[in-house]
Amino acid sequence: MAQVTLRKVVKMYDEVQAVRGIDLDITDKEFIVLVGPSGCGKSTTLRMIAGLEEISGGDIAIGGDVVNDVPPKDRDIAMVFQNYALYPHMNVYENMSFGLKLKRTPKEEIDKRVKQAAQILDITELLDRKPKQLSGGQRQRVAMGRAIVRDPKVFLFDEPLSNLDAKLRVQMRTEIKKVHQKVRTTTVYVTHDQVEAMTLADRVVVMNAGLIEQVGSPNDLYHSPTTKFVAGFIGSPAMNFIPCQLEQAAGVLRVRLSDTLSFPVPADRTARYTPQVGKANLILGLRPEHITETRPHVEPNQHDFENPIDVVEPMGMETLVYFTIAGSEVCGRVNPNAGATAEKPMKLRADLSNMHLIDDSTGKVL
């Protein structure tokens, strides 16, 4: 059993608080991704779990034992670094067996484990090569191999795909997921790429400014963000944030975006939003896929409006349109055949059933 538990973990660099007291429970065999912008404390958190950074406050437990003062080698973890950190003077086999050799594992056992890991990662024919003879993707595999052979309680990945080109990154992402499905080791994975986070994770931990913003499954985070930060961070293109006001007119609760544009709030949210009527600093959060071209069939909570288009970005399977509502830029995803043209008005449809109302002064989703 290798659950990882963080309790009130704090990291101070002199006067700066990099991590400001976070709590996290990672269950056995779980794939957890820490995601956030640079400087949010995600790497520091990972390095504290690894034991490469001292903990300024709080407790970290691996498999139930508090490891605050345990050196990295005795924590039974393995780490994959962003720049691979392969030993340049050793060949792949030696790189992978180095840790086992230091632990005085019997030769046959080392050989068995290295070959097994090499098979999982499909690098058997590379075992005699030196790191400099390998491509980026191959080096990344070897780095993973080095982690796998040690059969640790926890895998730690520190932005392992950042140095690869876009195509290889997608390929290796799938590879990492496959490996995890095969070896089922508790994994903590750090990335700044929200797509990587969404695709890999059982649960995603979104961090910002040294704190955890939200923990949840990829779908949870996408559909029910609890803060403006998570709402804006997860999803690409990002969620539209449009300043708005709530008004009660003729018994209907409406969200007003501009003098000329307002939509009725979905009936199931009326009770929830009514206390916000007339308040300042409200923001309507609407994902681009909920702004489309008009279609003949109208579902509940869908409302048509017309707006001039500023920019059109054809993506092939869809076209992104950018337009302005009361000064804020809004992105919509329309059918490529809907005839979107720059600098021409277009009939659009907003689907408010998935709307979010955000209080900008607290950053909370209401």
Binding site: K73, M79, F81, Y84, L86, Y87, P88, Q133, G136
Partner: protein, 305 residues
């Protein structure tokens, strides 16, 4: 030309003035580099060639008013005489032992010191690293008088005579070589990605294992560079042996040649040149052997790129 047609995609030539020449610019850059390289080569190779020519001459021919760049009656007498003389061979032996032991002591100290200063962050490590470098900046001409004082004190207190022994130089030379070699190695170790020792740390390596199994192999080119430097300093050092050794049996090559082959105002030029030329051979051979290693970038492939 209002109705000028737009070039069709099938057109194969571009009409328009051609100007500039990448190859011509490159050629001129090459010519200048060759010019200066040849100039430097002549400048630096003239003295050893002159030494070699002179070493093949008899004393009579050297003092004769003939063309100094030509040997009319070549002789190996200078070589034979020097290499059969016990004093010259003693100098050679002293120099060799002193230089080799200095290299061993220096590298043992500076590799470990540099590792500690570059990687183990401890209180004052940065100040210490700068301090090491500052030590190097103090010239030996300032140091040898206080050293005399210290040797006198050692003699009075412990009754150990440090003066006039070739092995004293083995204690003295590291004061010159350790700071510089440590400084080079700090720089080299600092260029090794931090993740490499972190990976070793997670793999279960102790500090010593990280040093011996990761850092030393990876930093081998740097270690060799430092070794070459250290050997050269120890081999060519003149002031300390001049100041601290006097007996013929205790002298090293640079001082030995000067003190034994110049008798009063009689300069035995043929033998001086021969001795100096032979003395220059060991560093030359070491350079030749280690050059490939020195150039090879072993760190390639450690990380991305």
């Amino acid at each position: 030309m209002a109705n000028a047609t737009i070039a069709s995609p099938t057109a194969t030539t571009i009409s328009g003035r051609r100007y500039g020449s990448m190859s011509r610019d490159r050629k001129w850059a090459l010519r200048w580099s060759y010019f200066f390289l040849v100039l430097f080569a002549i400048f630096f190779l003239t003295p050893p060639i002159y030494m070699f020519i002179t070493s093949l001459k008899t004393s009579a021919e050297i003092s004769a008013e003939s063309n100094p760049w030509w040997v009319y009656s070549p002789t190996l007498a200078n070589y034979i005489e020097l290499l059969t003389q016990n004093t010259y061979l003693t100098f050679f032996r002293n120099s060799a032992i002193v230089a080799v032991l200095t290299v061993i002591i220096t590298m043992a100290i500076s590799v470990i010191a540099a590792f500690a200063l570059a990687r183990m962050k401890f209180w004052g490590s940065a100040t210490l690293a700068t301090g090491v470098f500052l030590t190097y900046l103090i010239p030996e001409t300032l140091l040898f008088i206080p050293l005399f004082k210290m040797f006198a004190w050692v003699n009075e207190t412990f009754d150990i005579q440090l003066m006039n022994h070739w092995w004293t130089l083995i204690i003295l030379y590291p004061t010159l070589t350790v700071p510089f070699c440590t400084w080079i190695m700090i720089g080299y170790f600092a260029s090794i990605p931090k993740e490499l020792d972190e990976a070793a740390l997670i793999d279960g390596a102790t500090w010593i294992q990280t040093l011996t199994k990761i850092f030393i192999p990876v930093a081998l080119p740097g270690i060799i560079a430092a070794t070459i430097f250290c050997f050269t300093v120890a081999w060519a050092q003149f002031l300390y042996p001049l100041a601290f050794t006097t007996s013929t049996t205790e002298l090293v090559l640079p001082v030995g040649i000067v003190t034994t082959l110049i008798k009063g105002d009689v300069f035995n030029w043929g033998q001086i040149m021969t001795g100096a030329l032979l003395g220059a051979a060991p560093p030359l051979i070491i350079y030749a052997f280690l050059m490939d290693y020195y150039i090879a970038g072993l760190t390639a492939g450690a990380t991305k790129g």
